[in-house]
């Protein structure tokens, strides 16, 4: 019994066939996110990277996503149309397994924020700088139900009750709430 809410979904359509491998997107990104804005340039700080291997005809712009604290149990390696991509090539996470999407100095994770700023840009700067049209920005409105997921919560708690008993569980919740407040 959720309430309907409107949400803007922002998408960057990446057409790898159009990418010319120039890395202007990396340039624009690192300049935009410099502090103060545009004061320095360094693609190693960019939140978009072009995976680029011209001899294999590989050109894939990838955006930095959520930081992952630990690496995956296994890794993937894709071959598409006979082109073998590097391990975890398309993954957007900054994770311990690689140096991608980390500040070169601090190692802190980077994440694409779609160039959120005030005043807002018409579209992310990487898209504006991509004259090859490999990056196209789209926005659409979606209606999503804001559900109160009571049932899910109850199911989870039920299993904890089964495991530890109701008393133990209530005691723990009480202690946690005190320590959080205190």
């Amino acid at each position: 019994m959720g309430e309907k809410k409107k949400k803007i979904v922002k998408t960057i359509r990446v057409d790898v066939d159009k990418c010319n491998g120039c890395r202007a997107c990396e340039v624009a990104c690192s300049a935009f996110h410099a502090a103060p804005q545009y004061s320095s340039n360094n693609p190693a700080r960019s939140r978009i990277r072009v995976i680029r291997d011209p001899l294999k005809d590989i050109y894939v712009p990838v955006y930095a996503g959520e930081h992952a604290k630990s690496e995956c149990m296994g890794r993937d390696k894709y071959t598409i149309d006979g082109k073998e991509y590097d391990e975890c090539a398309f993954c957007r996470a900054s994770c311990p397994s690689r140096d991608l999407f980390k500040e070169p100095d601090s190692g802190l994770p980077l994440k694409c924020d779609m160039c959120e700023s005030d005043p807002a840009l018409s579209e992310p700067l990487c898209v504006q700088w991509c004259l090859a049209d490999a990056l196209i920005y789209e926005e659409r409105e979606e209606e999503v139900e804001e559900e109160v997921k009571a049932e899910e919560l109850e199911t989870g708690l039920e299993s904890l009750v089964n495991k530890y008993g109701m008393d133990k569980l209530m005691e723990t919740v009480a202690r946690m709430s005190i320590s959080k407040k205190g």
Binding site: N20, A24, A31, A34, S40, P43, P54, D57, Q128
Partner: protein, 668 residues
């Protein structure tokens, strides 16, 4: 803080294995900008004329342009400077690609190589960590192959690698330095790298390049991008397609080669084939290019797609750009399939795409003329195309006749004798030129060919249309949005320029106008070469996005150097004069400044003399082409004047040379 530049050079002595990070003087940046300008200053200061190209004391300088590593679109040039084994003068070939920005991010503006390594080595620059590493396992490997192997062994897929192939290792005088889709090819700088025992320079950088006035600089960049978009959508009407747009001539994109194949010369720059291009050829060549071309590609931070990856069936993929598409094809009188295939091998060997095919065609012409004998050519196949592969293999290994041809047409002709020098007919300052032979002398091109010190016409021409428009209406339309001109007078020159009659070549543009036009064209190239800008977005095409009016703003906002048009012009004149001074000190004189005899059918000796006299004077050079004391003083180059006087090149009392020398001397 230093802006746009890092303020540090990397000094590497390969004889002693010593590496130093040396702070540079910001005053030099103001005077000579960067890239070519500061390279020239270093060569003047540290390489006296007694130093031979293959001496350990010769320097090999990889200089990133002043604005490389900033967001300025298309600014990615590495200017490689040294003393050329072919011309014995200063070589300053450049390469695009991704190397220069990476060097900046590693924290250096230049890598200055001196000495010689006893064993083949490569240099690995990883931010502050710089190592000289063993390259014995890379001996004989192709340039592209070497780059891949180095990236793999360093486990650094993002490292940018500039490498030589077999030609450089064996000191072929037209050996190139290859770097992905780009190369620094002219002047035999790859031979100097090989002589130093340096197989490659790999670089990776993750540091910042700072911008002095960030918002202003980004606004300038956006304007340039907007104008590129506009120009891409609005090609210049009334000129041939390859001159209508921006970038290098779009050789990788176009199929229609009627203009090149019917106007440029085939063989050893000999034969014009006026009816070559027909439907059958067009169809076959289109199929070839479509089959082999995988993708159009770009240099760092540039939307133009001037290069391509080429995969010929059965051969490894390589990258190509510009006119090397046709140089092998036309030298061998063959087809595009042959041209794209042999270019794969030539690129891995690392040879200049202009000189190499011409040298091979020259060798075969000498054989046909009986000057080279069956004995000289023992083992040569009988099929024409196979002969070119055979010669290429011999040249880069310096085997048999290849050892002679490896010195280029000029020196090979000297060595062969028997009248061979008549066949080395397409050189200026001992360097092979574009295979182009024309009818009527063009005064602008005469001056550019004669006095250009990059010794390649594409590296001095641009901006001003190559030929007059047929009608007044077309001219008026052209000048309407021609805001790139430094002065309104250039519009009038063009408006009055007619294809025929009184106001046509060779007497119009007049001598004086020609001087101004050449000076403008050359100045823009020199500015590009100091900033690291691709000439394809600036000095080469008509109506480019970078010009004399916005460049000072880019330098001010980017590098924080107070700059205006006058000051920038003065700086460009300063280091342009310094380049000349280096060459004058090495013996270059008026006698060396002449286009090939047969470049034009119709020559005008008196007019040519007047052109050169007037241009020399206009530039502040004396009748021998030597900068005068007064002009050196004006550019703040009194130290050059002092040196000239000390060496007897200028005398104390007057500016005429006390002794006329010439660059003609044998290499040891």
């Amino acid at each position: 803080m230093r802006y746009a530049e890092t303020g540090f050079n990397l000094e590497v002595d390969l004889s002693r294995g010593n590496i130093e990070r040396v702070a540079t003087d910001p005053r030099d940046t103001e005077l000579y900008l960067g890239g070519l300008g500061t390279n020239a200053k270093i060569l003047w200061d540290r390489v006296p004329p007694e130093v031979e190209p293959f001496s350990p004391d010769n320097l090999l300088i990889f200089g990133a342009g002043l604005l490389c590593g900033t967001p300025a679109t298309g600014c990615n040039r590495t200017i490689v400077s040294t003393i050329s084994p072919q011309t014995l003068l200063m070589a300053f070939s450049m390469m695009g690609g991704f190397w220069a920005p990476e060097l900046k991010y590693a924290g250096y503006d230049k890598v200055i190589i001196r000495g010689k390594s006893p064993d083949l080595v490569y240099l690995w620059i990883n931010n502050d960590k710089v190592e000289i590493r063993d390259a014995s396992h890379l001996r004989g490997k192709g340039a592209g192959e070497t780059a891949e192997l180095i990236r793999q062994e360093l486990k650094e897929p993002k490292a940018q690698v500039a490498a030589i192939g077999l030609a450089g290792e064996n000191r072929v005088y037209f050996a190139s330095i290859e770097q992905g889709r780009s190369s620094a090819s002219r002047g035999g700088i790859g031979a100097v790298m090989g002589d130093k025992g340096l197989k490659a320079v790999a670089v990776r950088g993750t540091k910042d390049i700072n911008i002095a006035r960030p918002a202003e600089f980004m606004e300038l960049c956006s304007e340039v991008l907007k104008y590129i978009k506009f120009r891409n959508e609005n090609p210049v009407p009334g000129v041939m397609p390859i001159l209508a747009g921006l970038g290098s001539p779009q050789e990788m994109a176009v199929h229609d080669e009627k203009w090149h194949t019917e106007n440029f010369m085939w063989g050893n720059s000999r034969t014009r084939r006026k009816d070559f291009w027909n439907q059958e050829v067009a169809q076959k060549w289109t199929e070839t290019l479509d089959k082999m071309r995988t993708r159009l590609i770009s240099c760092y931070n540039c939307p133009m797609k001037c290069g391509a990856t080429i995969s010929a069936p059965g051969l490894p993929t390589y990258m190509m750009k510009c006119f090397s598409k046709l140089t092998y094809t036309m030298a061998a009188m063959s087809d595009l399939d042959f041209g794209l295939r042999i270019a794969q091998r030539a690129t891995e060997y690392g040879v200049d795409g202009f000189s190499a095919p011409q040298v091979m065609a020259f060798g075969l012409e000498l054989y046909e003329a009986g000057i080279l004998t069956d004995q000289d050519m023992a083992g040569m196949p009988s099929v024409n195309e196979e002969r070119f592969y055979w010669l290429l293999d011999r040249i880069v290994r310096r085997e048999g006749i290849g050892d002679v041809l490896a010195n280029g047409t000029h020196w090979a002709a000297q060595q062969i004798g028997k009248g061979a020098d008549a066949y080395a007919h397409n050189n200026i300052k001992k360097h092979e030129q574009l295979p182009l032979k024309l009818s009527m002398l063009n005064p602008i091109y005469f001056l550019m060919y004669a006095t250009g010190e990059k010794i390649n016409i594409t590296q001095i021409e641009g901006q001003f249309p190559q030929a007059p428009f047929a009608t007044r209406e077309e001219r008026e339309a052209f000048v309407k949005d021609w805001f790139q001109v430094p002065d309104e007078k250039f519009k009038h020159y063009l408006l009055d320029w007619e294809p025929r009659g009184e106001k046509s070549i060779p007497y119009y543009p007049t001598v004086e106008m020609s001087c101004h036009i050449v000076d403008w064209q050359e100045r823009m190239h020199y500015i590009d070469d100091a900033l690291g800008m691709c000439s394809g977005l600036s000095s080469f095409p008509l109506k480019p996005p970078y010009h004399i009016h916005n460049y000072p703003k880019f330098i001010s906002a980017g590098a924080g150097i107070d700059m205006d048009e006058a000051k920038l012009t003065q700086a460009a004149k300063r280091y342009r004069t310094l380049v000349r001074a280096i060459n004058i000190r090495r013996g270059m004189r008026r006698a060396d400044e002449k286009p090939p005899e047969n470049h034009w059918k119709k020559r005008f000796p008196e007019l040519e003399k007047e052109l050169l006299d007037t241009y020399y004077e206009f530039k502040g050079w004396n009748s021998q082409g030597i900068p005068t004391k007064a002009s050196l003083h004006e550019f703040g180059l009194d130290y050059v004047a002092e040196d000239f006087v000390k060496r007897g090149i200028l005398t104390d009392s007057e500016d005429e040379p006390s002794e006329k020398t010439s660059v003609e001397k044998e290499l040891k």
